[in-house]
């Protein structure tokens, strides 16, 4: 134990540290949810479990490729290995769904973008399209709803090729993405799982 008079300053520091990180997370995510731009990403949910954080649907995305910028494509293998963070622009298509555009070494001057740790990006040799492991890969639901959500998605998908379209609503701000809702056929998954017939 930290002795005598040093205990209280050390205790204060510990409390600050233990509250600062969760506090910072809360603040950043709240700001993104309140002020971020809305984007929709097509997705496919499946239902796994995390012993600590509970039941969630894991999200798979059909289109996660991004084109490397000229500067990025020109880097040799050793320089690519040293990369720490990359930035992917997010572009909204005519169908209303968003996808990744260009992969950059620095944040773009304008438009929405995602900040990506380099280990979430698989670069191809030269200027081949890179595969991106999107940072929003799970959506938490209550214990009963998660398996129900996956079942509904599969049922609707197999019944009709046009139905069962799942998409994730994401809010983007300053490179940070916070999922704001998971939808199947334009209905929020929580509502759909509770009243599937409506």
């Amino acid at each position: 134990m930290i002795p005598g008079r040093w205990f209280w300053p050390a205790f204060g520091l510990m409390v600050l540290l233990q509250l600062a990180l969760p506090g910072r997370m809360i603040l950043q995510h709240e700001q993104t949810l309140r002020q971020g731009t809305e984007h929709r990403f097509k997705t496919a949910p499946v239902d796994p479990y995390d012993a600590f954080r509970g039941r969630y649907v894991a999200l798979g995305f059909p289109d996660t490729q991004a084109r490397p910028s000229a500067e990025l494509a020109a880097l040799d293998e050793a320089e690519r290995q040293r990369l720490d963070t990359l930035y992917a622009t997010v572009e909204r298509g005519d169908d209303g769904f968003s996808s990744l555009g260009q992969l950059l070494l620095a944040p773009p001057a304008q438009g929405d973008y995602l900040r990506l740790p380099a280990d979430r990006v698989s670069l191809m040799p030269g200027d081949g399209p890179a595969r991106v492991d999107l940072p929003f890969d799970r959506y938490y639901l209550t214990e009963g709803l998660a398996p129900e959500a996956e079942r509904l998605y599969r049922e609707r998908r197999s019944a009709d090729a046009e139905a069962g379209q799942a998409w994730l609503l994401v809010r983007l701000r300053a490179g940070r993405a916070v999922p704001a809702g998971l939808y199947i056929d334009d209905r929020r998954i929580e509502d759909l799982a509770r009243t599937p017939g409506d």
């Binding site: 134990m1 205790f11 509250l19 969760p22 012993a51 600590f52 954080r53 509970g54 039941r55 969630y56």
Partner: protein, 437 residues
């Protein structure tokens, strides 16, 4: 016999000794004071029970909160969930402060509040992740939890947050196992050593001390597995044997001295068991342990790892006091035989034959047999049943494995068993002659 039973026996004996004139009342009072009064013992027992139940209570409440959090209360608004996430943490921190200010002498309060805060920290992070749909892997979550919880071990001096930290770090390394994690893992283990060592110095012989030693041994084993992950296949066996021998021989430095049970000797138990299993697998003529062992060249770091482990084990054996050295000689020298076996296999593999592997297995058989017999002889000489039984166990396991080995012909096995039997009879005669007055 428990402490209480010892104390009751002593209490009954003291008046008898006084009546017999062997000691006087003053000496009897002195002995009573030295071993503590029955009331002192009862108080100690009560405190220990309080500490155990307090810690268990905190553990259960903390785990319960994590499960409640994992349910995902979607009916609650975001601010409410944020509050629900931080409330147990702030309460835990407040209780830690209270324990320090008002209950500084109570282990139950100290350990219980520190553990509850550690668990509340995990619950808070989990609920915030859930509320804001934060992605990321389980192992990443465990690492952040461990690092944020570590200050609790330093500030409170409690052992349970240090153990929680160690468990989280081990899970982090184990969930995505691989040599690249070695530097970070090493640093993470070093970070928890100061509070852990301080606690171990204070009460190495207690159950808590034993728990700390077991987890520390497990962490060391995982560290060694990460270290060996990078070595070419042929060199893994000698490095593993040396690493296990290091753990087996380090017991004299880390574990409590005196007559304590195996529960207090994880270094000896895990290191010794690991060496015995490795030796038994290596002694098998049918098991593929020695196959595919061309001696690939080692890189500088890999060579240094292997030499370091071998020299470390050798140094510990050499520096041990003579009595311990003798007792640990059999298994402690196993890395030397495994190294020789590796060299024999490698040389044989270069010629494309299995002769080297067969010789290596034979060598390990001889080594384990000699180690077992040596230990039985030593145990007999020192009147140590534990030592003699350990040696006997080793020999019996060796015999058992060879008897059921289908790859050896019946005639070969028969001859080997007869030879072994003669060796035992000769050893028996030798020991009996030595013990004759």
């Amino acid at each position: 016999m428990s402490d209480a039973a010892h104390r009751a026996w002593l209490e009954a004996q003291l008046p008898v000794l006084v009546d017999a004139g062997l000691i006087d009342e003053a000496a009897a009072a002195g002995i009573r004071a030295h071993y503590g009064s029955p009331e002192d013992l009862a108080a100690q027992r009560r405190n220990r029970l309080l500490a155990i139940f307090g810690s268990l209570g905190a553990l259960l409440v903390g785990l319960g909160i994590i499960l409640l959090v994992a349910f995902n209360w979607e009916q609650l608004s975001r601010p409410m969930r944020t509050l629900a996430a931080l409330l147990p943490l702030v309460t835990g921190q407040g209780l830690v402060a209270y324990a320090r200010a008002r209950r500084a002498d109570s282990t139950a309060w100290l350990e219980g509040t520190a553990l509850a805060t550690f668990l509340a920290l995990g619950a808070a992070m989990a609920l915030i992740s859930q509320t804001y749909q934060v992605g990321g892997t389980v192992e990443g979550f465990m690492l952040v939890w461990a690092l944020l919880g570590l200050p609790l071990a330093y500030v409170t001096g409690a052992s349970l947050p240090a153990l929680g930290y160690l468990a989280c770090v081990m899970a982090w390394a184990g969930l995505r196992f691989g040599a690249p994690r070695l530097p970070a893992y090493s640093l993470l283990i070093v970070l928890v050593l100061p509070p852990l060592i301080a606690r171990l110095r204070a009460d190495r012989s207690s159950s808590r001390g034993a728990l700390m030693l077991w987890l520390l041994t497990a962490a060391l084993l995982e560290w060694m597995a990460l270290l060996l992950d990078d070595l070419p296949q042929a060199w893994v066996l000698p490095a593993l044997a040396a690493g296990l021998a290091l753990i087996y021989l380090a017991d004299g430095i880390v574990e409590p001295r005196g007559a304590v049970g195996l529960w207090h000797r994880p270094f000896q138990v895990l290191g010794g068991t690991g060496l015995a299993i490795l030796g038994l697998l290596g002694s098998s003529f049918g098991f593929d342990l020695w196959r595919a062992a061309e001696l690939d060249a080692l890189g500088p770091a890999q060579g240094l790892t292997l030499v370091g482990l071998l020299l470390g084990a050798g140094l510990l054996l050499w520096r041990a006091d003579p009595e311990r050295r003798q007792a640990k000689l059999g298994l402690g020298l196993l890395p030397a035989s495994v190294l020789l076996g590796t060299a024999l296999t490698g040389l044989g593999a270069a010629d494309g034959s299995d002769t080297g592997a067969t010789l290596a297995s034979l060598l390990l058989n001889l080594h384990l047999l000699a180690a077992g017999v040596w230990q039985i002889a030593l145990g007999t000489r020192r009147n140590s049943l534990a030592l003699a039984n350990g040696g006997l166990g080793l020999v019996l396991l060796l015999v058992f494995f060879r008897f059921f080995e289908a790859d050896l012909g019946l005639i070969g096995r028969g001859l080997a068993f007869i030879g072994l039997g003669i060796c035992f009879i000769l050893a028996n005669v030798f020991i009996a002659r030595r013990m004759r007055p």
